[in-house]
Amino acid sequence: MPPNSSYPDSSLGTPRALYALWALFWLLMIAVAVQDNISDAHIKWWEPFLWECSSCLIATLWLVLQQRAGRRWNQYLSQPLKWFGLHLAWLPVLSLSFVITVYAIRHGVYALTGETYEHPSWSFVFLYETVKLTLFMGLWLAIIFGLKSFSLWKQEREHLLQMQKLLAESQLSQLKAQLQPHFLFNALNTISALMQSDVERADRLLARLADLLRASLAVGARQATSLREELNLLELYAAIMQERFAGHVTLTRNTTDEALDASIPVMLLQPLLENAYKHGVERSSQPVSIRIDAHREGQLLRIVIHNSGTWQSTPGSGIGLRNCRERLALVFGERANLSVAPVADGVAASVTLPFEPFRA
């Protein structure tokens, strides 16, 4: 899924229901007008038909115009007063142009048939038509507003559902990754080996493994956490790796207090650290150092996971990264970014997201 594709946008299409309703409304208007005048001997059958059709034609042109040009006001759907205000501000212009075009058509058609279109004085016509138009516009704007709000609500709900689904998936896959069978069984084997030779170390490793299991389970249904807690979880993971590859890897962090209190999506960084281990530590026999930097840059929080190992992309290693990107895109849209790139002395995975203090 391309990032952002499900983010609510301003291009709410015109629902078919609107056009159907519109057509029904005008059929009714025409029918009523024809019926009203059918017994009047002074009025020919086509006259009420012409009156209504000319109005319908111009009104329909407006509807199309509103559907196209009015799109830019979709962003104000959550502020109904502003939305209606912006539309009604055009009323004087519309009223004037409506009377001129509609009456021009009627006069033209009457002239073609050799008759004269008779109507009250122009000042009365303008007043009468403006009042009618105001009522008419109010009614239809209310209907359009209702339909648009409904489809916006539907879009937002879909977005929310998708976000929840992705989060659930990521939690599941993160849980699986943390308790990755390889990771778990290797740790168990290390304990099995250590308890023959170094009971203290075996005990320590067993406790760390239990801590990690507990912490993973405790994350539960929460969606956000503080960077501090996230890093604590990462450190448990790293502590176990360190016991297994003693002297092989060092983990340091370089963070500001402000950054530690920031809110971040739960378990966002885990795949990045795992990648650092996979590429840096497990694939190279040289000692590797992993450094986590986090600080605030204006409105953004920047987190960099830097590892001194080699840059090697192996097939399948991109899943964790892709998952991170998707989650960032869903939660923050285009305000967050994740990039992985080789740097002078290793590889750096860099995440930026909007800074926001975490509140439990």
């Binding site: 080996a193 023959q196 030779s197 026999s285």
Partner: protein, 244 residues
Amino acid sequence: MMRVLIVDDEAPARDKLRRWLSNHGDFEIAGEAADGLAAAATIETLKPDVVFLDIQMPGLSGLEVAAQLESGTAPLLIFVTAFDEHAVRAFDLNAVDYLLKPYDRDRLEKSLHRLRERSGDTPARSAVRTARAQTRSSERLLVPRGEQLELIEASAIHWLEADDNYVHVHTAAASYLVRRTLGDLLDQLGERFVRIHKSTAVNLAEVASLSPLFKGDHEVRLRSGATLRLSRRFKDALFGRMPR
């Protein structure tokens, strides 16, 4: 007496195996290795009878190590893994055994028992074949460079030249002397190479032209300019594979 090589990237895991094996008088620890390249090099120099080979390792995995062994002289292999059950299951019939981490002493005893039964058996030829089928072993070849081993891309090899129990592997940049038979190398490297003589094989993509000599022999000119002789015996095989 069986000489054992222990290969695992985790020191505690190697310690465990060494400690338990030391109780058995008929097994002798010949050496240890902590990654795939070191394992391959140690197998070549120490020629152990048995290798306990961890699968998930930095650089070269245990399966990749197995795939690069000379199948005719390979030691007996016992794969040790934390989770690659699906990978090791393929070896059911032709590797001696596999151990799933963590394993206990009884389980190791069983493996040792099987080893004793198999000692003196033909080498683990079919285990090496299975490992080749499971890895991208036709894409890469392990070659010695000075004291070290390194992997080169099979596509970079121009031609292969047998020399007793060795093969000269010619690339644009260098030639490597590999202690393998030509037949075994071709088994590993697969379709990319075609034998043109009892003692030579070429990378098909490197063949520039063919011109007839006497008695049905041909001259094969490579893109690099090298000329080799195509013997009558292998003519049809090469002609059948050449793009028209």
